[in-house]
């Protein structure tokens, strides 16, 4: 390890108290400007929303156990899958890694005392809460049945509570913009002395690339949702074919944001996995620059591919070909990452701890998710697979098998740093295994269902699909059980004494060189850096 930070032990000053003990009382949380406390508050709400979205998912899967009615009627079912989508996308996955783990870890990895704009950081947390309140309001006021994509013209005519849900997504977008803005300014202005851009940990690189996408894409979502509101309130008619408007224009607007948004969701996961694999292979990461730059490459190409959602919406053949080609290009930087991760593991002394199990799970799930994306990027096969369970499975492999596995891996990795407590390694790894098995039962099945022609979002289905649907539903219960076990594993530690060492995993980045949990200003003395982040 060639980085150093002068340890408190070197001086004769007493060690500073952890940031939990630096202030007490509810006000010390509500008005806090400390990035760690804000990160923890985000974490609590993201996990609560994950539970809520998960319950919706289990209800959807339970309904699909049998054709026709199983537990709820068709209208309720439409609301359930919409709520599952909206909650998971806007309240869970988008803020999951950046706003919770990112807030907690980014300044630590940079060797900074805080993010550049602490007040803006707190504001973005409260904006997130306000957005969540609008979403809850919509939920108890008839909910939404449009799907999380809010496609027009249906979203203009349905009498469910679309306005409050769209407002929720609009407000949550601002929270995401402010977090991104904050991270960009932090990365530029608060790196420790000696930390050049190419000495930043890859998690920082990933968050930086994500922030750039957030800054560039989210405003377009904001205007799209404003237009949708204007359609409903002012009856502007630009998305309404009955009034001379164009419904596909909405799809262009929506996917111009929402395709980059899937990179807002997955790129932070890449960052986490880079950290996990290098730490638990006890080896510097292979192809540091290639991984860092491929995040930026994905961020750029990601803006040019939105048309692959409209292969069947009547866009011109030439546009379809161009979008198809550009979509294939994304596979290059993505494959660069996967290959570099496996190359890092090659001949490493791999230590199989819980975070590493999640990282390995990620590698497999994300690779399957990425490769099936190629089927969908091929305009010809997409005509067959469009709007089937194949798309559902692909999306969940990337978003859940990718982002959520990375998120959980990161959560287990940094849990000792955040809470100061070690969890039960056996239970943690076992929970990961259960979730992994459940995940594959749920979603591998859906590739088959989709290829056989089962359309997504349908309440009813042909009898011939029942065995696979039932298998998938049972898989979702196993998956739920896995997450429940990891919740028990992590939350159980809160009842025991603080026992985590400063650096339980032999990590090399700066966050491992301060106390677990860190003091209020993160480091006892300003750390300085004179080598790459993973040099051992």
């Amino acid at each position: 390890m060639t980085q150093y930070s002068p340890k408190s032990a070197q001086g004769d000053r007493p060690a500073s108290p952890s940031f939990y003990k630096a202030a007490r009382g509810i006000g010390s949380w509500l008005y806090t400007l400390d990035h760690k406390r804000i990160g923890i508050m985000y974490l609590v709400f993201v996990l609560a929303a994950f539970l809520l979205g998960g319950v919706f998912a289990l209800l959807v899967r339970t309904e699909l156990l049998t054709p026709g009615k199983t537990i709820v009627d068709a209208n309720t079912y439409n609301r359930l899958f919409t709520l599952h989508g909206v909650v998971m996308v806007f309240l869970v996955i988008i803020p999951s890694i950046p706003a919770s783990l990112g807030n907690l870890i980014l300044p630590l990895q940079l060797g900074a005392k805080d993010v550049a704009f602490p007040r803006l950081n707190l504001a973005s947390f409260y904006i997130y809460l306000i957005g969540a309140c609008f979403a809850l309001y919509s939920l108890v006021n008839g909910a939404v049945d449009t799907g999380w994509t809010f496609y027009t013209p249906y979203s203009n005519t349905t009498d469910t509570s679309v306005i409050s849900m769209v407002l929720a997504a609009f407000i949550l977008g601002f929270s995401s913009i402010f977090t991104g803005l904050n991270f960009i300014a932090t990365t530029h202005s608060l790196r420790a002395p000696g930390m050049t851009f190419f000495r930043m940990p890859l998690f920082v690189w990933a968050l930086y690339a994500t922030s750039v996408i957030q800054i560039l894409a989210t405003p377009v979502l904001a205007i799209t949702l404003l237009l949708l509101l204007a359609e409903r309130v002012l009856k502007v008619g630009i998305f309404d074919p009955a009034m001379g408007g164009d419904a596909v224009l909405f799809q262009h607007f929506f996917w111009f944001y929402s395709h980059p948004a899937v990179y807002i969701m997955i790129v932070p996961g890449f960052g986490v996995v880079s950290e996990l694999i290098t730490t638990f292979s006890r080896k510097p990461i292979f192809g540091y620059r290639a991984i860092a730059m491929s995040s930026i490459g994905i961020a750029i190409i990601g803006f040019l591919v939105w048309g692959h959602h409209m292969f069947t919406a009547g866009q011109s053949e030439i546009a379809g070909m161009i979008f198809s080609f550009l979509t294939f290009l994304v596979a290059i930087p993505t494959a660069i990452k996967v290959l570099n991760w496996t190359a890092t593991m090659y001949r490493g002394s791999i230590v199989l701890r819980t975070p590493m199990w999640y990282a390995i799970g990620f590698l497999y799930l994300f690779t399957v998710g990425g490769l099936t994306g190629m089927y969908l990027a091929t305009a010809g096969t997409d005509v067959h697979l469009h709007d089937t369970y194949f798309v559902v499975a692909h999306f969940h492999f990337v978003m859940m098998g990718g982002t959520m596995f990375a998120f959980l891996g990161g959560l287990h990795y940094w849990w000792p740093k955040i809470t100061g407590r070690m969890y039960n390694e056996t239970l943690g790894s076992f929970a990961c295994l259960v979730a992994f098995i459940g995940f594959n039962m749920t979603f591998l099945t859906q590739f088959v269902l989709g290829a056989q022609g089962m359309p997504r979002r349908y309440y009813n289905y042909l009898d011939q699909f029942q065995p696979l649907h039932a298998f998938s539903s049972v898989g979702s219960y196993v998956l739920g059980l896995g997450f429940l076990l990891s919740a028990v594993c992590l939350l159980g530690t809160l009842f025991k004494k603080s026992d985590a060492p400063d650096n339980p995993w032999e990590g090399t980045t700066l966050e491992w060189q301060t106390a677990s949990p860190p003091p209020l200003e993160n480091f006892h003395d300003q750390p300085a850096v004179n080598a790459g982040p993973y040099d051992r």
């Binding site: 405003p219 377009v220 205007i223 002012l234 502007v236 200003e521």
Partner: protein, 217 residues
């Protein structure tokens, strides 16, 4: 830019006041980028419909008064100038001059909104309204398809811009109060500079809106 001194107490997590000011400016520029992208969505809607409904756009824009639009353009350009002068005076420690320029900027912004108010009431009176509320039935649109789309886009673009003007006025009032309170000096004037940047963007957007809406033909 070598004006930053040690006397101003910058936030503890920045190594220096200079670093803090630079970070603030970077943050503001990033925010301005999001603003541009937000408007660019509406400009895309404009472009899409203008290319499919060229004749309609041509006919519809004649119902906008280019003289009022031109007047507002001049008012905003003037306000950009006074804003720039206000920032410069703050940099040079001329507090009263800075306050004066900020007041003029505010007056210009107010004048812009007053003119906009008259334009809007006129259109509401004629029924030149977005989509479902459109009732105008003049000879200009004989044989022309869906003019309500133009007015939908017109109201969205100018409305969103007007909202930004309003927000700018609040921000300018805030730095005006702080200026008179004596918060700023040649050592510390970041907020004035940031509001200035924001205000220039608001003006710049109008400079695109004006020809696109009023002078299409």
């Amino acid at each position: 830019m070598a004006i930053m001194g040690r006397e101003y107490h910058h936030a503890h997590h920045f190594p220096s006041a200079r670093a803090e000011a630079d970070a603030a400016k970077l943050g503001m520029w990033t925010f301005l980028a999001t603003e541009v992208l937000m408007f660019s969505g509406l400009f895309m809607a404009y472009t899409a419909y203008r290319s499919t409904h060229a004749e309609m756009f041509k006919a519809a824009h004649q119902l906008l008064d280019w003289r009022l639009g031109g007047l507002n353009t001049l008012v905003l350009i003037l306000s950009s100038l006074t804003m720039a002068l206000g920032v410069r005076s703050a940099q040079q420690n001329k507090r009263e001059q800075s306050a004066f320029y900020l007041v003029v900027t505010l007056l210009c912004a107010g004048a812009f909104l007053v003119v906009k108010y008259f334009e809007y009431t006129h259109k509401i009176h004629l029924g030149l309204l977005p989509g479902g509320y459109y009732t105008y039935n003049g000879p200009e649109f004989a044989g022309i398809d869906s003019p309500h789309i133009f007015f939908g886009i017109y109201f969205l673009l100018t409305g969103l811009h007007g909202f930004h003007v309003l927000f700018g006025m609040i921000a300018i009032t805030w730095i005006l109060l702080r200026t008179t309170r004596g918060d700023f000096s040649s050592k510390y004037y970041t907020p004035v500079e940031l509001v200035g940047l924001y205000w220039h963007l608001v003006d710049l957007i109008w400079i695109y809106l004006f020809p696109l809406l009023y002078l299409v033909g």
